[in-house]
């Protein structure tokens, strides 16, 4: 066998790159990681099934099976009530993928390798967030399409529709930060998945996503009314449907919640990445 590694290094080790170079590397490294993550996603049919087919089944299930039994006071009926809820839930559930992927990469030593390389240290998390956000956005658009096929209609103009999708995406990114932290801190695929169920299921189902909160027992309403998923989904519903649904309070509460989540969990995720072992 011929010489495999020529000792001449690809780059001189003791010349520190300037700020401009470092910024352009941070961008290109993030894009490389994003590209890698999206490639992995489209290569594995199971991931596509989990991220796209599952929410479509939820739409059909609630629209045609449970929906008839859930009375709502929303113009256009239950399907209009349902769709913002399903979209919010889809954004939240998409973050399972974030947590699981990071836990897997940690376990397999991929993160160790990347951290031992002269690449931008921010790129692994940033690339993960960018890829997962793109994936989430694609899924949301598919769900909106399916919603239209089963009778859902935006009734607050194009601006409202876009604002709703944006809010759903920002909400998804916030949950992504929580998921990234759990994935890196727990570091085991199965445990991460189980833990995700424990906090995401109650948060999304004990909310205004699928049923009006007034239909719940009083003690549960207290939780459901004041938790972020309800605030975000109520705001999304107002943006999507208009018709005098209260927008301002819900939007402010959503922004407060999402800001708080970012402030707490983004640093936690970054710290878990730095200390990842």
């Amino acid at each position: 066998m011929t010489a495999i590694a020529t000792p001449a290094s690809a780059m001189p080790a003791d010349i520190e790159p300037g700020l401009g170079t470092r910024i352009s590397w941070a961008v290109s490294d993030t894009l490389t990681i994003t590209r890698r993550n999206l490639l992995v996603w489209i290569r594995v049919p199971a991931y596509i099934v989990f991220t796209v087919v599952q929410p479509v089944m939820f739409v059909l299930l609630f629209r045609y099976v449970f929906g008839g039994a859930i009375p709502v006071q929303v113009q256009g009926g239950y399907v209009n009530f349902l769709m913002p809820g399903i979209i919010g839930q889809t954004a939240a559930f998409a973050t399972f993928g974030t947590a699981i992927a990071l836990a897997q990469e940690l376990k397999k030593g991929v993160i160790d390798r990347l951290r031992s390389m002269p690449m931008a240290r921010s790129a692994v998390l940033a690339g993960r967030l960018v890829a997962d956000t793109s994936r989430m956005l694609i899924t949301i658009l598919i769900i909106v399409g399916v919603g239209y096929a089963v009778g859902f209609r935006f009734s607050n103009g194009v601006g409202g529709a876009i604002a709703m999708v944006v809010l759903a995406t920002v909400f998804g990114i916030a949950i992504c930060c929580v998921a990234a932290w759990t994935g890196l801190a727990i570091g085991d695929e199965e445990s991460v998945q189980a833990f995700g169920m424990i906090w995401l299921f109650p948060l999304t189902f004990v909310s205004s996503a699928f049923v009006p909160i007034q239909s719940m027992p009083g003690w549960l309403q207290a939780f459901a009314k004041n938790q972020p998923v309800t605030n975000v989904i109520d705001a999304m519903r107002s943006l999507a449907l208009g018709h005098g649904l209260p927008l301002e309070t819900n939007l402010l509460k959503s922004i407060a919640w999402l800001g708080g989540i970012f402030i707490v969990f983004l640093p936690l995720a970054v710290r878990a990445y730095r200390r990842a072992s």
């Binding site: 066998m1 011929t2 010489a3 495999i4 590694a5 020529t6 000792p7 001449a8 290094s9 690809a10 780059m11 001189p12 080790a13 003791d14 520190e16 590397w25 290109s28 490294d29 490389t32 990681i33 590209r35 890698r36 490639l39 992995v40 290569r43 594995v44 376990k107 397999k108 030593g109 991929v110 160790d112 390798r113 990347l114 951290r115 031992s116 390389m117 002269p118 690449m119 790129a123 570091g187 072992s277």
Partner: protein, 345 residues
């Protein structure tokens, strides 16, 4: 070129690291001259992985210092990362992607331009015998192929110092030999290599110098010949087919050798260091075992292996299975560093 072209490629002084009250490293010193191979030998939980993680900037030490190519692993971590390659205990590759994609992505993350990243990937695939499988998903690769791809990934940036943490753990014997072949050719091209292993034959085969680590401390260092010299000569070895007679066999051979004979209760292999007495000791052993009425298989005199060295240095064998107090006096202390190493991998 590195700024300390005269000094050693790796220099470690008094390195310590604890996880809670578990002392993974208790003051390690190492010096690896350029272009040489250091084998770091020790059982699970000895602190090998912790040392590698510190040297590759993944973990900060509590005390002492470590230089790689003259750069401090804490203060000049970025320069260290530009000088090193790391292949850990498992294949750190993206299994859903092809071998080629894996290497191209690593190349891009080393800031090679696309055409360069492609060329480098093709070169490495060719050199590691993966060209035919280059465009298949890595999850279809055999264990040996995945480890080769992982090693190839660690070389994309043409590192001057390479760290291989147990590169053949879990490989079948044939893949192991293939891996050794590749590692030898790397070294022939001038790369400095630090290799950790639990396998004594591996260190014997590949390393110029060996350090033996146990409980976070270097307990011996030198060439494989130096270490074998510590056992002080030849070893008589035989197998006792009837495991119930092992104790008798130990008693019978206790007086012929220069040190305590050792028996592996599972395989029934008994070995006794006999110093310079060579064939006289062999004759004595045959007589003693015969007198005790113990049947043996494959009784022979051999040069000491690193197994014997490890036994002589630590009082326990290197590849003994770890937990549940099978080892004398190391139950409590040892279980935790092992755990920390496992989570660290």
């Amino acid at each position: 070129m590195a700024h300390n072209s005269g000094g050693p490629a790796i220099l470690v002084e008094g390195l310590t690291k604890s996880f809670g009250n578990v002392h993974a490293l208790r003051g390690i010193d190492l010096a690896v001259p350029r272009g040489t191979v250091l084998g770091v030998l020790g059982p699970n939980g000895a602190g090998k992985t912790t040392a590698v993680r510190i040297l590759t900037t993944l973990l900060e030490p509590d005390g002492g210092r470590a230089l790689v190519e003259g750069y401090d692993v804490v203060k000049q971590a970025a320069a260290v990362r530009r000088s090193i390659g790391l292949a850990g205990q498992s294949a750190a590759i993206q299994e859903e992607l092809t071998g080629r994609e894996n290497l191209e992505i690593i190349g891009r993350l080393y800031h090679l331009k696309w055409p360069e990243a492609r060329t480098r990937a093709s070169e490495l695939l060719e050199q590691f015998g993966l060209s035919d499988a280059a465009d298949r998903a890595a999850k279809t690769y055999s264990g040996g192929m995945q480890r080769r791809l992982d090693l190839a990934a660690s070389l994309v940036g043409r590192p001057r110092v390479l760290f291989l943490d147990e590169p053949t753990t879990g490989l079948d014997p044939r893949s192991r030999l293939g891996m050794w072949e590749i590692i030898r050719s790397l070294v022939a091209s001038g790369t400095t290599l630090l290799l950790t292993t639990q396998y004594l034959d591996e260190a014997d085969e590949l390393a110029d110098e060996i350090v033996v680590i146990d409980h976070g401390k270097v307990i011996a260092a030198g060439t494989s010949e130096d270490l074998k010299g510590k056992v002080g000569g030849d070893v008589i070895e035989f197998t006792v087919p009837d495991r119930t007679l092992i104790t008798n066999a130990l008693a019978a051979t206790a007086r012929i050798g220069e040190g305590e004979p050792h028996a592996d209760p599972e395989t029934g292999v008994v070995s006794a260091p006999v110093g310079g007495r060579g064939s006289d000791a062999l004759v004595d052993a045959v007589r003693a075992l015969d007198a005790a009425g113990i049947q043996t298989r494959g009784l022979a005199l051999r040069r000491p292996s690193l197994d014997d060295v490890f036994l002589a240095l630590t009082g326990h064998a290197a590849e003994e299975e770890e937990p549940a107090g099978r080892r004398r006096g190391r139950k409590k202390k040892d279980s935790s560093p092992m755990d920390s190493e496992r989570t660290a991998s």
